[in-house]
C-alpha cells in the first residue's frame, strides 16, 4: 500500500498539442485510454498533482481558438467549449441571454481559475458540485459532442451520468454548449462554506410567465445529491403570487418527490444540506413571487480571452524544449513535460514566486501570463512556451515601485510577506481587467488568495488604494 503525502508534483506524462478539433480527436483515438485532453487544466492538474489520477499523454487543446466563441444563432446562444469561466461570467451576450449562467460562472473559484478553466472542461469533469450544471439544466441547454467523424447533441441533463462520470466516450470531445433562447428567466442561489472551494448547495430556478401565470418552469438542485436534480414543470399554471402563498407546499412536495440519498462531505452532512436546499429554494421562489429577484451587478465585456500555441513542441529524449519570456527576457531550458511553471520560474531565479499549497488554491504562486493572473503551480511550463510571464519585478521600474507595490507597503498589507507577491499579481489583473472601481461584491467573487497573517483588512485597503493610484486619482 502506498500512500503519499508529499504531493503537489504530477507523475511524468508526455505532452502533445492539438491545434484543431480533428487533431485532438485523432490523437485521442491513437492513444486510446492512455490520453486525456487538457483544457484549462483547473481540474485535471490538481488531480494529477495530488496523484489521484495518472495519464500517459496530455493533449493540450487550449489553443484551439475555433472553440472560443459566443454567438446568437438559430435561436440558440452558442458557446464554444473552450470559453473560459471568466468570459462566461463577463461576456455581454451571456449576460443578456443567460444571466444565471453568467452568475454561476462568477461563483467559480477566483480570477486565476476563471482565466484558464473552461465551460467544456467543467462539464466533462462532472463534479457533483460544479457550478454550471444546475444553471445549464435549468436553461434546458444542450452540448455538442464530436468524435472522429461523428457529431451529436444531447441535453446537459443527459450528459451527467454520476459524480465524475459523463456520457462522453473516451475519444469524444465537447465542442459547444447551446442554450435555447426560449425566454426562460431565472434565479441562481448558491451556498459555499467558509473558504472551501466548491459550493454545498446550488439552486437554479427558471420560468416563463404570461399574464402573471407561469407557463413553464424548471427547478434544479445541485451539489446536494449525487446528480443535479431537475424538477420540470412543477410551477406550471400557478400564478406568480401563488408561488409565494403556497411556497411551503411546493417546496415540501418537491423534496418529498426526491428519493436519492443526499451527499455528505466534510463541509456539510446530508440532513443539513437538504435543509439549506429547502431554505434556498424557498427564498428563490419567494423572490420570484415578490418580484424581488436580485441579480449580481457585474461588469461585462465583449472580447474573449484567446490562447495561442506558440513554438512547437520539440522533444529531446524525454525532455522538451521551452522558451519563456519572463519580465522581458527570454529563458530557454530543456525540461520534463511535467515541470510546473512555478518550479521553472524558481529554478531560474524568480524566487518571488512562491508555493503555498498542493491543490491550486492559495494563490501564492500567482504570476501574469500574457497579462492575466494564473496560478503557476497549475501550469506545466511547456504550455506557456513562447508566451510572456510577468512577476512583480517586471512591473516595477528599477527602484521605483509600481503603484500596487506602493499601496501594499503603505497599507502595511503584509506580515510574513509570503503571500504578498501572489496578492499583488492578482490585484493587477483585477484592477486592469475585471473591476478598476473595486466594488466589494465583485472583489469578494474574484480575489480568494490566502493570507495567514494579516487578517486581510489591510490587503483590502491596499487593493482599494492601488485602484486609486492606478486610476490617477491619488
Amino acid at each position: 500500500m502506498s500512500m503519499a503525502y508529499s504531493l503537489g508534483i504530477p507523475r511524468g506524462f508526455r505532452y502533445v498539442r492539438a491545434s484543431t478539433v480533428n487533431e485532438a480527436l485523432s490523437l485521442l483515438n491513437e492513444y486510446g485510454g492512455d490520453a486525456k485532453v487538457l483544457a484549462g487544466g483547473m481540474s485535471l492538474m490538481p488531480m494529477l498533482k495530488l496523484r489521484m489520477t495518472e495519464v500517459k499523454y496530455l493533449i493540450d487543446i487550449l489553443g484551439i481558438n475555433d472553440l472560443r466563441y459566443v454567438k446568437v444563432e438559430g435561436n440558440y446562444l452558442r458557446i464554444g467549449a473552450l470559453m473560459t469561466h471568466g468570459d462566461v461570467a463577463m461576456n455581454k451576450l451571456v449576460n443578456e441571454h443567460a444571466k444565471i449562467l453568467s452568475e454561476s460562472a462568477w461563483h467559480i473559484a477566483d480570477i486565476q481559475v476563471r482565466n484558464l478553466g473552461t465551460i467544456g472542461g467543467s462539464l466533462a469533469h462532472a463534479d457533483p458540485a460544479a457550478n454550471y450544471y444546475p444553471a445549464l439544466i435549468a436553461l434546458d441547454a444542450e452540448v455538442v459532442i464530436r468524435g472522429v467523424g461523428t457529431e451529436r447533441g444531447i441535453k446537459v441533463s443527459e450528459l451527467y451520468k454520476g459524480p465524475y462520470i459523463t456520457d462522453l466516450k473516451q475519444n469524444e470531445v465537447i465542442t459547444e454548449v447551446r442554450i435555447p433562447l426560449s425566454g426562460l428567466r431565472g434565479v441562481y442561489e448558491f451556498f459555499r462554506r467558509g473558504g472551501s472551494s466548491f459550493p454545498s448547495v446550488i439552486i437554479a430556478v427558471t420560468y416563463q410567465e404570461g399574464d402573471g401565470v407561469i407557463t413553464d418552469s424548471r427547478i434544479v438542485i445541485g451539489a446536494v445529491y449525487p446528480e443535479p436534480v431537475l424538477v420540470s414543470g412543477h410551477l406550471n399554471g400557478l400564478g406568480i403570487k401563488e408561488v409565494g402563498t403556497r411556497v411551503s407546499d411546493i417546496v415540501n412536495s418537491i423534496f418529498s418527490s426526491i428519493d436519492t440519498k443526499p451527499l455528505e462531505d466534510t463541509h456539510a452532512p446530508s440532513d443539513y444540506r437538504v435543509r439549506v436546499a429547502r431554505n434556498l429554494l424557498t427564498k428563490a421562489l419567494m423572490d420570484i413571487a415578490n418580484g424581488s429577484v436580485q441579480h449580481l451587478r457585474t461588469p461585462t465585456k465583449e472580447e474573449l480571452i484567446r490562447w495561442e500555441f506558440r513554438d512547437g513542441v520539440e522533444y529531446v529524449g524525454d525532455l522538451v524544449r521551452v522558451r519563456v519570456n519572463v519580465n522581458g527576457q527570454w529563458i530557454e531550458d530543456l525540461v520534463e513535460p511535467r515541470l510546473l511553471l512555478l518550479d521553472f520560474l524558481r529554478r531560474h531565479g524568480f524566487r518571488e514566486v512562491r508555493r503555498g499549497c498542493d491543490e491550486g488554491k492559495c494563490g501564492a504562486c500567482t504570476v501574469l501570463v500574457d497579462g492575466r493572473a494564473v496560478k503557476s503551480c497549475m501550469v506545466p511550463v511547456v504550455r506557456v512556451s513562447g508566451h510572456s510571464v510577468t512577476t512583480i519585478r517586471g512591473l516595477s521600474r528599477g527602484m521605483e515601485l509600481h503603484p500596487i507595490q506602493r499601496a501594499f507597503l503603505e497599507e502595511y498589507a503584509m506580515q510574513c510577506g509570503y503571500c504578498t507577491h501572489g496578492f499583488m499579481m492578482v490585484t493587477h489583473d483585477y484592477l486592469t481587467n475585471i473591476d478598476p472601481t473595486v466594488n466589494d461584491d465583485i472583489l469578494k467573487l474574484s480575489v480568494k488568495n490566502i493570507c495567514r497573517c494579516t487578517g486581510y483588512m489591510n490587503i483590502i485597503k491596499a487593493i482599494k488604494r492601488a485602484a486609486r493610484y492606478m486610476s490617477g486619482s491619488s
Binding site: M1, S2, A4, Y5, S6, G8, I9, D110, F191, R193, G194, G195, S196, F198, T266, P269, D271, Y272, R275, N279, L280, T282, K283, R338, D343, R346, R351, E352, R354, R355, G356, C357, D358, K361, C362, A364, I392, R393, L401, Q405, R406, F408, L409, Y412, M414, C416, G417, Y418, H421, D440, K444, V447, I450, R452, C453, T454, G455, Y456, I459, I460
Partner: protein, 783 residues
C-alpha cells in the same frame, strides 16, 4: 509621491526580495529528501524493503539505518515511559508518521521514488477519541499501561468550602477541536553534516531548545550544531517549533549519505504530519453568589496530545497557569489536568498556545453564569474585575493570583467599559433584528513565557532542576562609519522586528533609523539563550527591553570615549551628539566618534575600553522557577475586552461577523501599525478556528483534512464587509524596560468565546463544541 513608510520587511515583500527557506542556495551535490509516511494510524512494522528505490537509482534509509544515527529519543516534559523518535522504529502510531526517507538529486524524482518503498504492516486497532483513550482497552504506548501520559490535580484556596457554600454553581462541558494555525509557508530544512559539524538551515522559530533536542537525539555534542534560519519565514504561529523531528531526520540523512540534504514539506504533509493544537475536552464549574460575585472556578481538562507528548507539550495546559482566574478577582481554583495520547498527529505550539481553549471555556462559562442569573454579561464581568494591585515589586504594583501569576497594575474597568457604547448600541439593534447576536469576552493576555511552567507537568517532589528560562540576548555594535548594528538571535515571521528594533534603538541614540541595521535571525554560532526565539509575544516585553538596555550600555561606553575625545569629564548627549557641558559648542557626533575609535584605538589612554560592542541578556524581573504548584507563568499580562456582533443567516445557519471591537491596554505601543496588524491577524485566526478549521480523522484514524479546501481556511473573500474597530490604551508598565506587553495572541484567545456568546444571545444556548459548523447550529436550534 509621498515618502514610503519605514517598513523594512514590507519593502522586501513588495519587491519580492524576501529570503525564505526554499530560497537558500543549496551546496553542490545536494540531495532532496522525500518521506515515506505511515498509511496506518496504528500498526506494527513487520518489514521495510527499500531495494526498489535503490534499483531505480535512489537512496533510501529505513528504521534500521536511521536508528544507527538517531540512537536516543527526544527528551519529554512528562514523566512517562514513552519514547519519541522522529521516525517509527517498530510501530507506527499515527498516519503520517515518518518510517523511511528517500533521497534523489531532483525533488520531483524523490517523490516518485516513494512508490518503490515497500513496507509490510500488521494493522492494529487505533485509539482515536478521548473516550477511546480513557477506556484504555487499546494502548498507544504499551509501556505506559494506560493512555494517560500525565495527571495533575491542583487546588488553590478553600475549594470545598467555596463550592459547597455557593448559592449557585453552574457547570458546562466543552469541546475544542484539533487545528493548526498553519503558516502559508511549509516546513523546510537544509542539513549538511561535514567534518563533525552539523550545519542546518531551517525555518525554525528561533534557536530555542532545538539544539538541545536535535543533538540529544543524534548523540552529538551541542557544540556540533550550527543552526541558521533564513532572513524571512513565511509565518509560523508556533507551528515551526515542531520542526525539530524533521531537522533530526534530514540531519540523519545527511550523516548517512555524506551529502547535503534538502527537504521542503508539501502542504498535504503539513496538514497530516507537522503540528497542531490538541483536542481538548473541558468541564468548567463556576461557583457564585446570586448577585453574580464569582466564588471559585473548577476546571477539568483532558488534552489529547496525539501519539506522543511532544515537548513543549503538555505546556499547553500550563501556559495559562498563572492566569487561570482570567481578569477576575477569584482566589479559589481547582484544576485537574489529564494528558491523553491517541493515534493522531502529535501536538505543539499553536498561536496563543493554551489561551484559546482555556479562555473559550472560561469566558463562555462566565457568560452562562450571567445568562443563568439574568444579569447583563458585561456588568457581571465588571463586578468581578480585579481592582487592587497591592504587591509592590521594584517600581510596579501587582495583583498576585492564587496560582502565582503577577498581573501588573492596569485599569481593567476602563478597558472593559470602552466596548460598552457599541455593546449597548448593538443590543438595541438586536431588538429590531433577532438574527443579530452580541457577545463579549474579557481576558488578560499573558506574554513572555516562563519556560519553567512545563515543570508543572511533574509532581513538585519529583522535579530535578528548577527552570525559569525567559530572557533574550541582544548585541549592538557600531561600525567604522558609525552605523549601529543590532543582532538578535530571533526570527522574522512577519512581526516587524527589524523595523521596530531600528526605530527603538535609533530613538535611544537620537539618530535616524536609517543608520541602524538589524539582523534578526537564528545563528547559533553567535550568542543565544535557550529561550531566544519568536513565541508567546515576547518580543515587545523582553527582546525590546534587552535592546534598550544594550543601547544604553553602549551609550555609556561611548560617553566615556567622548570624554576622552572632548577632553572633559562632563559630557552631555543629545540627538546623536556628545557635547562638553561646559562648552556646548564643542561636540562630536556618534558617527565621528565611532569612526575615530574604530580606526585609531591606539590613541586611547591606557586602561580605556575601546570596545564598541555590547551584549545584554535581559531576564524579566518577575519570572522565576515554580514554587510547588504556583508559578508566574508569563513575564506580563494585559487586559483586553472584545465585542463580537454576528448575524445568523436563517437560511443557511451560517454566521457572518458584522462588527468586531477590540479594546486593550498593551502598555507602550512601539509601532501602532504592527500592533494593529497583530490584532487583525489574530482576529482572523480566531475566526478561522471558531467557525471553520478542524483537522478531522475518519474512524480508522486517516486524516480527512488533507487540503485547504477541506480545511475551509478563510480567504480574502471571507474578510470583506467585516467592520473592525481597535481601541488602544497605553499605560506603560514599569516592571519591563520596554514598558510594553504582548499583543500577538490575546485576540485569538477571546474570539471563540465572544462568538459563541454572541450566538447564544440569538439561539438561547451556548454551542460549546467547536468549530461552529452551521449544521451544529441548526441542530442546536432544533433542540
Amino acid at each position: 509621491m509621498s515618502k514610503l513608510p519605514h517598513y523594512r520587511e514590507g519593502l522586501r515583500a513588495v519587491t519580492g526580495s524576501g529570503e525564505y527557506i526554499d530560497d537558500i542556495p543549496t551546496p553542490p551535490g545536494t540531495l532532496y529528501m522525500a518521506i515515506y509516511r505511515s498509511p496506518y494510524a496504528h500498526a506494527r512494522i513487520l518489514k521495510v524493503d527499500l531495494s526498489g528505490v535503490l534499483e531505480h537509482g535512489g537512496i533510501a534509509y529505513g528504521p534500521d539505518e536511521l536508528a544507527k544515527v538517531i540512537p536516543n529519543p527526544f527528551p519529554l516534559a512528562v514523566d512517562a515511559p514513552i519514547k519519541y523518535y522522529p521516525f517509527a522504529r517498530d510501530r507506527a502510531r499515527f498516519v503520517g508518521e515518518p518510517i523511511a526517507v528517500v533521497l534523489a538529486d531532483d525533488p520531483y524524482r524523490a517523490i516518485d521514488l516513494l512508490d518503490y518503498v515497500q513496507v509490510d504492516f500488521e494493522p492494529l486497532k487505533p485509539v482515536l477519541t478521548l473516550d477511546d483513550a480513557l477506556r484504555g482497552d487499546i494502548l498507544v504506548h504499551e509501556e505506559l499501561k494506560s493512555n494517560i501520559a500525565m495527571y495533575r490535580h491542583m487546588r488553590f484556596g478553600p475549594v470545598d468550602k467555596a463550592f459547597s457554600e455557593a448559592p449557585i454553581v453552574i457547570k458546562r462541558e466543552f469541546y475544542y477541536q484539533k487545528h493548526n494555525a498553519m503558516p502559508l509557508e511549509t516546513y523546510g530544512v537544509l542539513a549538511h553534516y561535514v567534518n563533525g559539524e552539523l550545519n542546518v538551515w531551517a525555518n525554525t522559530q528561533g534557536p530555542l531548545l532545538i539544539t538541545y533536542f536535535v543533538t540529544r537525539a543524534l548523540g552529538l555534542p551541542t557544540s556540533s550544531l550550527r543552526l541558521f534560519s533564513p532572513r524571512d519565514i513565511g509565518g509560523s504561529f508556533g507551528s515551526k517549533y515542531s520542526l525539530y523531528p524533521y531537522i533530526t531526520l534530514a540531519a540523519a540523512a545527511s550523516i548517512l549519505s555524506g551529502k547535503p540534504v534538502k527537504w521542503v514539506e508539501s502542504r498535504t504533509e503539513h496538514l497530516v504530519g507537522s503540528n497542531s493544537g490538541g483536542v481538548r475536552k473541558g468541564v468548567v464549574e463556576v461557583a457564585a453568589t446570586r448577585d453574580g460575585l464569582i466564588q471559585g472556578f473548577r476546571f477539568r481538562f483532558y488534552e489529547d496530545v496525539g501519539a506522543y507528548p511532544r515537548p513543549p507539550d503538555p505546556g499547553v495546559l500550563f501556559r495559562v497557569h498563572g492566569n487561570m482566574n482570567g481578569a477576575y478577582d477569584v482566589r479559589v481554583i481547582e484544576v485537574e489536568n489529564y494528558v491523553v495520547v491517541t493515534n493522531k498527529l502529535p501536538t505543539g505550539l499553536n498561536r496563543a498556545y493554551g489561551g484559546p481553549p482555556f479562555y473559550f471555556m472560561l469566558e463562555v462559562a462566565v457568560n452562562e453564569l450571567a445568562r443563568e442569573l439574568g444579569i447583563d454579561p458585561l456588568e457581571l464581568r465588571v463586578k468581578n474585575l480585579i481592582r487592587d494591585f497591592p504587591r509592590k515589586i521594584g517600581d510596579e504594583y501587582f495583583y498576585e493570583t492564587i496560582t502565582g501569576g503577577l498581573y501588573p497594575r492596569q485599569d481593567y474597568e476602563r478597558v472593559v467599559r470602552a466596548i460598552e457604547p457599541e455593546y449597548r448600541r448593538w443590543l438595541e439593534e438586536r431588538k429590531r433584528n433577532p438574527n443579530i447576536g452580541v457577545g463579549i469576552a474579557v481576558l488578560v493576555e499573558p506574554a513572555g513565557t516562563n519556560l519553567g511552567y512545563t515543570d508543572l507537568a511533574i509532581e513538585p517532589n519529583k522535579r530535578k532542576y528548577p527552570h525559569s528560562g525567559s530572557g533574550s540576548y541582544v548585541t549592538i555594535s557600531i561600525d567604522m562609519s558609525g552605523y549601529i548594528r543590532v543582532f538578535v538571535n530571533g526570527t522574522n515571521e512577519g512581526l516587524g522586528h527589524e523595523t521596530t528594533l531600528a526605530e527603538v534603538i535609533a530613538s535611544e541614540f537620537g539618530v535616524d533609523p536609517s543608520i541602524v541595521t538589524v539582523e534578526n535571525r537564528v545563528d547559533t554560532t553567535r550568542v543565544w539563550a535557550l529561550s531566544d526565539g519568536s513565541y508567546s509575544s515576547r518580543f515587545a516585553p523582553i527582546v525590546v527591553s534587552a535592546a534598550i538596555l544594550a543601547a544604553r550600555q553602549l551609550r555609556e561606553k561611548l560617553t566615556r570615549l567622548a570624554m576622552v575625545a572632548l577632553g572633559t569629564e562632563r559630557v552631555g548627549f543629545e540627538n546623536g551628539q556628545f557635547y562638553d557641558i561646559n562648552n556646548p559648542s564643542r561636540r562630536i557626533d556618534i558617527r565621528r566618534l565611532a569612526s575615530s575609535i574604530n580606526w585609531d584605538p591606539g590613541s586611547l589612554p591606557e586602561g580605556s575600553d575601546a570596545s564598541l560592542s555590547t551584549t545584554v541578556f535581559y531576564q524579566p524581573p518577575t519570572v522565576k522557577a515554580p514554587e510547588g504548584d504556583r508559578i508566574n507563568s508569563s513575564a506580563t499580562y494585559a487586559i483586553q475586552a472584545q465585542l463580537a456582533v454576528i448575524e445568523l443567516d436563517p437560511a443557511t445557519y451560517d454566521i457572518r461577523v458584522r462588527k468586531y471591537v477590540i479594546a486593550h491596554d498593551s502598555g507602550r505601543v512601539l509601532k501602532r501599525e504592527f500592533v494593529d496588524g497583530q490584532l487583525m491577524g489574530g482576529l482572523m485566526h480566531g475566526l478561522a478556528l471558531t467557525l471553520y478549521e478542524e483537522l478531522m480523522y475518519d474512524d480508522q484514524g486517516n486524516p480527512v483534512t488533507t487540503s485547504l479546501d477541506i480545511y475551509e481556511s478563510p480567504t480574502l473573500a471571507e474578510a470583506i464587509g467585516m467592520d473592525v474597530e481597535l481601541m488602544h490604551f497605553e499605560t506603560p508598565t514599569k516592571h519591563l524596560v520596554s514598558g510594553a506587553h504582548g499583543v500577538g495572541e490575546g485576540v485569538m484567545m477571546g474570539v471563540p468565546a465572544a462568538i459563541v456568546n454572541a450566538l447564544a444571545s440569538i439561539i438561547g444556548r451556548a454551542v460549546t463544541d467547536l468549530p461552529l459548523r452551521p449544521h451544529k447550529i441548526m441542530r442546536a436550534m432544533e433542540r
